[in-house]
Chain length 447, copies 2
């Protein structure tokens, strides 16, 4: 029985019922007559209040038990409906399993996020990181469940690959210490999309949920060298089919997490001036708008004085400030920007009849900007070959990918969600290093 | 509506009801008066029979439609309870989306597994690989669901790490093309266990489900350079707690998959002389036995003539033949072998009072041998330091791991399941290269 289950099934508890639990001491207050320990077991940010009477305080050596220590307690559950906490445990027996050393760096006093990043193996023992990691796990399982319910097949796209990705940034290189393990140059994958397309042609609906890698030398709050991506790919779907699917996926997943994790969301909300849940709920209840990229350019041009980057033109890559402006000021809600200039998008995107744009979409959300990027894929073999030539990308390593178009291909569309970006959005956390247990960035690979 | 859902909800179908579906032609038989196409949509190995009457055969140009082509059909669903298939679609309209070229390598005629390994992007379009990948996906989701139901938190252990694993084999090395991206030597993780332990100390029950890597130069049917591992870790669990958990996890997951995927299991069963399902069901219904390693050695010694490796002694690493003998001939069911000599096990395992053995267990199953390996972890700081010294493993890079013992540590136990080994066991597939979409082995990194 976890603390989470205990607190959500109070109706099943008998006042005075025997109970036994193990966990960690999160707080220790009171006086020599009565002590209150807050016990956490990691199942929720909520704690179980342990009440220890005077005759036991000395027996359990309570004054020597430091915060973070692991203990085992037995006692009787008391329902306390009028108290701040609805239930407490009157302790009859307490065993100290492992006391924390005095130098345990997680203390009651406030610590900085910077300091906690130096101890990624311990920072989850703060309430903030406990909440973040619980929400991260919740999002992961909601996403898997959503896909499975909608008949998607999870596929393991390879991590190590001979394909150099989509040219979306420097790739990391893999080898054995003797070198030449794979007898050819091998990379850590930047996307599972090309492999997912191969599987969509046969399974119709597939998705990957796996680590991907970038060797970009970025030191921003939004970039990691190692991060998890979710990449669904659907055969027989065109751009107009995949956009509402992406919209529904995100809204359903976020909505379920808010409902199922009230304590964690409330805690995170309190750190964001109580507007995190409001913001998320507004996003969920606001229907998605569609906007052409060229339409956005016209609007941005009119407001260019409001931006740092004021050179607004058809063909530009929109900056985060432009994306946020569209989502927050123009649409005031989520918007799928579609039909981007082909020169700023990847080679595999479906070329529109205007010869200038591709059937791409970015899903922009107030407060965070781009959260999903996707497209319909080019299904026409000859156009794909031509595009590779224009971009001076070697055809031979991608021949298998081109060949998919000859073997019962169908329109295929998909997108990528950077999982950590999603966790940031739902938790309101500003730095991507704080939503993954052991963040990897240039020059930083602790543990 | 998928074919799987259609076939499992026949009661909801009205005879003559309009229906529309997209998919791929898997079979094309009949004569000029009537044609039967088998349509697959990847949701199941079962196909939907399309019936096309003479007047439409020419109109749809049916003789030109090759196997594997993508089509869209409309028509009326006809319930055919007395026919071999329970339902068929009388086609009124058929649109050919993309015909396969004549050189499409997946044809009705038998192909070898070796040949199919050369085309990992297309082999899932055979019925065998369709079944394997459907079962793989099913196992993945059942495993996630089992852990979530049992209050486990999924954690992302890092893929790129500065820890050189458990010395379980050569590691792969990661770098950027300019070198020195992480400012220190960095590896692809061989296990997420050490990081999982850090999180178990705080969340109590955690698990990883992620790719892991080995640079071993193995060319066997059981080794991959890149494979997925499931690694649960539970604080407050000792060896005797984790073993029944592992047993229940495996049996529940396999049992659910057999129940939910009868068509795929039947197909795979037919390829294994119809004993796959029998074997799995026998495993599920046979209670786990526990056997001491030293007991096993005594038994194996008596039967040494039956083995290739006849040098049986306390301290030896058991071979697959020995493990299978114990599971199949001695126990005739699943067995957890426990308390292995410490010298053949990893440094972090709990040292038993006899000073010779550690609290490790391997779960051995008839037909496959070891399917799970795990242990209780050493919780005593000083013993861990001493063990590192004995094994000449540098302490400094593992100091963070040792420090966990000072900060409210508790007994902690866990294990690893090689996901592909599990898929092999449940599908009856003999070569590990055939249970992962894009297998990576020394010298082989297609696509």
């Amino acid at each position: 029985m976890t603390i989470k289950k205990l607190l959500t099934s109070l109706n099943d508890i008998k006042h005075g019922q025997d109970f036994e639990i193990q966990g960690w001491v999160q707080n220790n207050r009171g006086n020599e007559k009565i002590k209150f320990l807050a016990l956490t077991d990691g199942s929720t940010v909520d704690t179980l209040q342990l009440v220890i009477k005077s005759e036991n305080i000395k027996r359990f050596n309570l004054d020597k038990i430091n915060l973070g220590s692991s203990i085992k307690v037995k006692g009787k559950l008391l329902l306390t409906p009028t108290a701040p906490q609805p239930i407490e445990l009157a302790v009859d027996d307490l065993i100290l399993i492992n006391n924390t050393d005095e130098d345990f760096p997680i203390q009651k006093k406030e610590t900085t996020l910077d300091f906690l990043r130096e101890i990624p193996h311990l920072r989850h023992r703060t309430n903030l990181f406990r909440a973040i990691m619980i929400i991260r796990n919740a999002l992961l399982f909601e996403i898997h469940s959503y896909f499975q319910k909608h008949d998607f097949l999870n596929i393991a796209a390879p991590i190590i690959t001979s394909n150099d990705g989509e040219g979306a940034g420097e790739t990391l290189i893999v080898n054995s210490s003797e070198g030449d393990f794979f007898k050819q140059k091998s990379f850590l994958g930047v996307t599972g999309q090309l492999h997912a397309e191969a599987y969509a042609a046969g399974f119709k609906k597939v998705y990957t949920f796996a680590p991907t890698f970038r060797a970009e030398n970025s030191h921003t709050t939004k970039h990691l060298a190692e991060f998890w991506m979710i990449e669904p790919e659907v055969a027989f779907y065109e751009l107009n089919d995949i956009i509402p699917f992406a919209d529904n996926l995100l809204k359903t997943v976020i909505s379920n997490v808010i409902k199922k994790y009230p304590s964690e969301m409330k805690l995170l909300d309190s750190l964001k001036d109580n507007n995190l849940i409001t913001t998320l709920k507004k996003y969920i209840s606001t229907p998605l708008k569609i906007m052409e990229y060229k339409e956005a350019i016209k609007i941005l041009e009119k407001h260019k004085k409001e931006f740092e980057e004021q050179n607004i033109f058809f063909g530009m890559d929109l900056g985060s400030e432009h994306e946020k402006f569209i989502a927050e000021k123009v649409v005031n809600g989520p918007v799928a920007m579609i039909n981007y200039p082909k020169d700023i998008k990847a080679f595999y995107m479906y070329q529109n009849d205007d010869k200038k744009t591709v059937a791409a979409f970015d899903l922009l959300v107030p407060g965070i900007g781009e959260i999903i990027g996707g497209s319909q894929r080019e299904s026409r073999y000859e156009l794909l070959v031509q595009r590779l030539k224009e971009l001076k990308i070697k055809q031979e390593p991608l021949q298998w990918y081109l060949d998919l178009r000859k073997y019962g291909y169908a329109p295929s569309s998909g997108f990528g969600i950077g999982f950590e970006r999603l966790v940031m959005y739902v938790t309101g956390v500003a730095n991507i290093r704080d939503v993954i247990p052991f963040p990897r960035t240039p020059g930083n690979i602790k543990m």
